[in-house]
Symmetry: D3
Subunit: 61 residues, 6 copies
């Protein structure tokens, strides 16, 4: 409300995630005018052999 | 058809999931008039440090 | 928290949607033990020529 | 089972979509060994001012 | 890579979306260390009668 | 651009995934006329007790 889903390769640290969700929530509050508590974010991580770009798995790029 | 995706923090038991998918499928059949076999549900679980509300990770709330 | 996304062909009435979100929220509260206010649901509708089963668009099945 | 969601800018023709869902379903059957009827695909289209790359809306790129 | 999907009620202006995707992309670059051009964002909008919180459609809250 | 998300039960081999993302990317290039490098695919896998059809978990079907 809004809900944000981030699809990423696994491997980021908790510190990276902490910074990301803080900054993204602020971006949502600033631009869409919603209260911070209304913003939920989920990072959906997959292994490198479950994600591809250009038809090639990230485990093989 | 319809497909339901549920984004949740990891940690629910199989019993909880069994009940949820049963009740959700019934809700879909009752309200949207589709056959139960047409309803698929996937629960996408993330660790507490990959989900946030109000700009704060669930691992730190 | 949890967030539910429902992918469906467009065309349901507001009455159908009203019943669905009520029943689905109750299913979540009952089985996952979350407060109703924590449950958000979004129905993502596409036209029949943007959805397929068995490799055939719903507009042509 | 599996379910495929394709996020794209709006504007493709029905003919383009017809070809895509046919070929994608065949790719799923061939590689994952599932029956074609088990494959559902939904194309979620957004206008050019609701999609961005590199921080710039497609309506302004 | 990462891909960001934002589920929201329809009705934001292009100016609001322009600011959001710019700030979100910067948050991703800063925290996850990816190039801006690798970040795609799609805002998936639904009408108020297709989104609910607490079991009640936004069109009726 | 487009982004493809595939929701599946866990358990496919890297060889199966390698073939799938190659064929799906080719299907996208052929039908939607986009360059291969613009196509990203993420396979979101869940355990059998987190996915259901017909109201029954795959771990119990």
């Amino acid at each position: 409300m809004p809900e944000i889903i981030i699809y990423a390769v696994a491997g980021r640290t908790t510190e990276q995630k902490r910074g990301l969700v803080k900054d993204m929530t602020e971006a949502m509050v600033k631009n869409f005018g919603v209260p911070a508590e209304a913003v939920t974010i989920q990072i959906v991580e997959s292994d490198k052999d479950s994600k591809a770009k250009g038809g090639v798995l990230f485990s093989e790029r």
